[in-house]
Symmetry: C2
Subunit: 560 residues, 2 copies
């Protein structure tokens, strides 16, 4: 895989993130130095049955491992940091540079993968400068739906390449977050930028995205009208939203209970980094909730996208161990459903309302705003940076195309605008840009613990399986003595991500165990087929009860 990049050229390309929303990974290569920007995952689309994550094919970078000087992170969202452990398994010595909140989240990931100690992870701020042999990297503050976001300027001898990361121009951010550094962007523009690689996510939205502060007004207004408990669901990463909701709740004298693992992590990180100002005595646990009046409580939880295993879904379907819906509860969805999630969000809303809660959701209540800038902000970035060449990043083809039209309206000549695909290489001199070949950059599927062990044929097979995934039950049974010698063990594909569903899996295992035992107790003669049917029926009922899904159950019995 040798690309034709000349000595006087700087190359820019994406390993992931072009023509898609997710798994962002961009890079700049000059002579023997490569700077990689972001390493995200993508959540699989519906037709990838049983796939948990999608990452990029890192083989080009692995082949040039000695040239990769740094992995620089723009912010802490999964589609920008989720791939880091997998990247580091391929290129373990590359130092990682990330702003504080992203660094905190990355640390958690590295720990989980057992590679925290051997990873060189640096916190960076807007004023840091990374100097390599020929390349210098510096930064400018942006705003997004997570605090601590940076745009990156890669200074090479051929010219400056700016990668915006995800951004909106939130001119009145909440809490102690600073506004975007317009002065620094304008200065880059004044001094001359060779290539702008810019976020295309909202290129179809003609407006200027509303400030997070605007949502705060709505939250205040909505909370004032609620007399019972408030159950507030949003993305755990949207610490600004959490800050606004908790602030209003505290002003109204409410205590705050937090449910959902990622939300708990967000509260810890947000308080540590100073983005959340929540005193200890405001935080209460499930037990305390029983002793507080309804109007003195806010429950903060994950599950605003209807994720079946998240706290809110379990509260909705009555399977949450600690919280159940009470009459007078109001559930606030402070998010818009991501397109593929509309059905599951609606299902959760129906369950909540059936259980007696009032539900407030959606744009009509102004209770959410996007983290990505609309057309006016994409144009503003173009006018501030004034690039010679332009590459539309992060977004599907139609968004890239619209973004490219905006670039032309902002005086970038049409022949200087590039719509690329992952693996396409753009090679530039000070005055020219050309497509300089392509390296393989297709999707790599991660399923449970395996990386890239699933090919397209398997995906096709899975599509022919249930739309609900698959659960395999393995047990070793002594049919004479009616005992379970090993297991039952459960393995799921395309159903739940097992690492995050431990409790459900444990319960299911116990259920299967009891079913086997009861089958032996209730019947004089038990055949293998009878056992399998009993297991299937019982487990199927149990899982549907808990998740409203009906995966195919495949019992595999080793009988002695």
């Amino acid at each position: 895989m040798k690309l034709d990049i000349k000595k006087n050229e700087v190359a820019a390309f994406a390993v992931g993130g072009l023509g898609e929303i997710g798994k962002n990974m961009y890079a700049v290569q000059y002579q023997d130095e490569i700077i990689v920007m972001d390493a995200g995952i993508k959540f699989p689309e519906d037709d990838l049955l049983g796939i948990d994550y999608v990452i990029s094919d890192y083989s080009y970078l692995k082949q040039h491992a000695d040239m990769v000087k740094a992995l620089v992170i723009t912010h802490g969202h999964e589609d920008h940091i989720g791939g880091i452990p997998y990247f580091l398994k391929e290129l373990p010595t590359v130092p990682v540079y990330a702003p504080p909140l992203a660094a905190a989240l990355i640390r958690g990931k590295l720990e989980e993968h057992g590679i925290l100690r051997e990873t060189e992870l640096h916190e960076i701020g807007e004023d840091d400068v990374l100097k390599f042999d020929k390349i210098t990297v510096d930064f400018f503050r942006t705003t997004h739906s997570i605090p601590d976001t940076l745009g990156i300027a890669v200074h090479t001898p051929v010219g400056v390449i700016v990668e915006t990361g995800d951004f909106k121009f939130d001119l009145t951010p909440v809490g102690n977050q600073p506004a975007p550094n317009l002065q620094r962007m304008a200065k880059l523009g004044s001094e001359g930028v060779l290539l702008l690689m810019s976020d295309s996510t909202n290129a179809e939205i003609p407006n200027f995205t509303k400030s997070e502060r605007f949502v705060g007004h709505s939250i205040r207004h909505i909370f004032e009208g609620i007399e019972g408990r408030i159950i507030f669901a949003t993305f755990a990463s949207n610490i600004s939203r959490i800050a606004q909701a908790t602030e209003v709740a505290m002003k109204n004298g409410r205590k705050i209970a937090v449910f959902g693992r990622s939300m708990e992590t967000a509260i810890v990180n947000g308080r540590e980094l100073g983005y959340l100002n929540i005193p200890d005595d405001v935080l209460v646990d499930a037990h305390d909730l029983n002793h507080l009046p309804a109007d003195k409580v806010m429950i903060l939880c994950t599950g605003s996208q209807g994720e079946p295993m998240a706290a809110l879904s379990r509260i909705a379907n009555g399977t949450h161990r600690q919280i159940s819906i009470q009459p007078g509860d109001t559930v606030v969805f402070s998010s818009n459903p991501i397109p593929g999630n509309t059905t599951s969000v609606n299902a959760v809303i129906n369950q909540l309302e059936a259980a007696g809660a009032d539900v407030i959701h959606g744009k009509i209540n102004n209770i959410h705003t996007s983290g990505h800038g609309g057309q006016e902000e994409e144009k503003l970035m173009l006018r501030l940076i004034k690039p010679k060449f332009f590459m539309a990043c992060h977004g599907e083809y139609r968004m890239q195309k619209l973004h490219t039209e905006l670039a032309q309206q902002c005086d970038v000549p049409a022949e200087n605008c590039f719509i690329m695909e992952n693996g396409d290489v753009l090679a530039m001199t000070e005055n020219s840009a050309r497509r300089a070949g392509h390296f393989p950059a297709s999707d790599v599927y991660i399923d449970g613990s395996g990386i890239g062990d699933i090919g397209n044929a398997v995906i096709r097979d899975r599509r022919m399986l249930s739309e609900e995934g698959l659960v395999v039950v393995v047990a070793t049974i002594n049919m004479q003595k009616h005992t379970v010698l090993a297991g039952p063990d459960l393995l799921s594909r395309g159903f739940v991500y097992m690492r995050e569903s431990g409790e459900l899996i444990n319960q299911a295992q116990r259920r299967v165990y009891r079913t086997i035992k009861q089958t032996f107790t209730n019947n004089e003669k038990v055949s293998e087929a009878m056992l399998k049917d009993a297991i299937s029926d019982s487990l199927s009922d149990f899982l549907f009860d808990r998740t409203e899904r009906k995966p195919i159950i495949i019992p595999m019995l080793i009988t002695l």
Copy 2:
């Protein structure tokens, strides 16, 4: 009128333009140097019967005439340049600096007032620097609903004071107009600005105002669906809009006829300055229209605000000498009615539709966009300029107040934000700002040719007169010989601005003359009262027929 401005202080104040929309005039004073910015008029509100214009009270500036070093103009709208002739009558030696289009319009005004020769008028561009003894003035490009707009930076030894002029951030302006110079604004912000005086007009609008280019899309779409003649009405000053409409018309093979004096002037200036690219052979006159197929014609005219004497109103009510509505005509209003004008605009629309035309108007068709930035743009200006102190300019109190709240959201401390009135003086050192007194700055009324000769008592009287104004007819008549020795002359107040209604007045004079003659012919004995009644009735009918207004007619006869 001695104000308490100390030697180490710089003062900023408005002579007009605070707490109102119109007659903008701001000033910076440091020791013995005053820089005046803009000199506009205001159009009178409905309760100022018979007043044609409102200007500011220039007496403070006149008393300090030797200190006034320059009148610097931001752009060519009437509310920024309309007062220049009156200002120069008081302070005739002050040099005027204006961008090219504004300069062209000012030249016309000075000529009309007979003071072009003795006025020192300089054209300025964004890169010009005006150096005075202690003050230096430079500029940054902005965008607005007229080309050639500048923001002003007044550099004093105490600090920099920025006056934005009217602005929006049109990031994709049409024609050959440049985008706002974000880099220069950001640089001012980086270097430090003491005071920002910023346009508050759209402080109540939460959005980012749509680009003029957006209107172009709508015009193209609308024009494509029209098979007959197009009659396109907009503000004559909105040369960008005219550029877009004429460009689409020409692409569709239409010739263009122009009606209305200010529209004719706009076409001349716009072509001269390169903002309008209309070849000679595309422009046709009324005569040519009769020989062209309906789908090869666009008529461009004034009157989009329903002004009774403008071309469109006369076309609508059938009194235009050259154009009448034909079946299949489509009239496009490319403007929104200014609040006070809604009724007259509706009347014109009704007349046009009754005459058989299709009418396209209003926001629903996306055929207009504001020239002023909404909240997001006001915040963007604040974030670019990063001022220590803030004064909300150009807008009514509630807009100034909202704008001040935006400033605080953009990190200007509340105690550094000032809501002032005309004549209030803000005195600043590098670290402090205080209110340093007030000079008289009330409205001065201009009625016909008189300046400031109308007091509030007269206004009250007029309010008690008709809501339609007043027409006085003066004639000297020999009652014996039945001859008209002098006149009839007509004088109107609060009815039409006579200088712009020559044709109507001429016709009315002839009508009165004929009425007098006929009264003598038809009656053996004619009394003065009889003559007066005849004149009143005849003139009243005539004026209502032409203008749909019923002014009080006062015939004054000098009889011999």
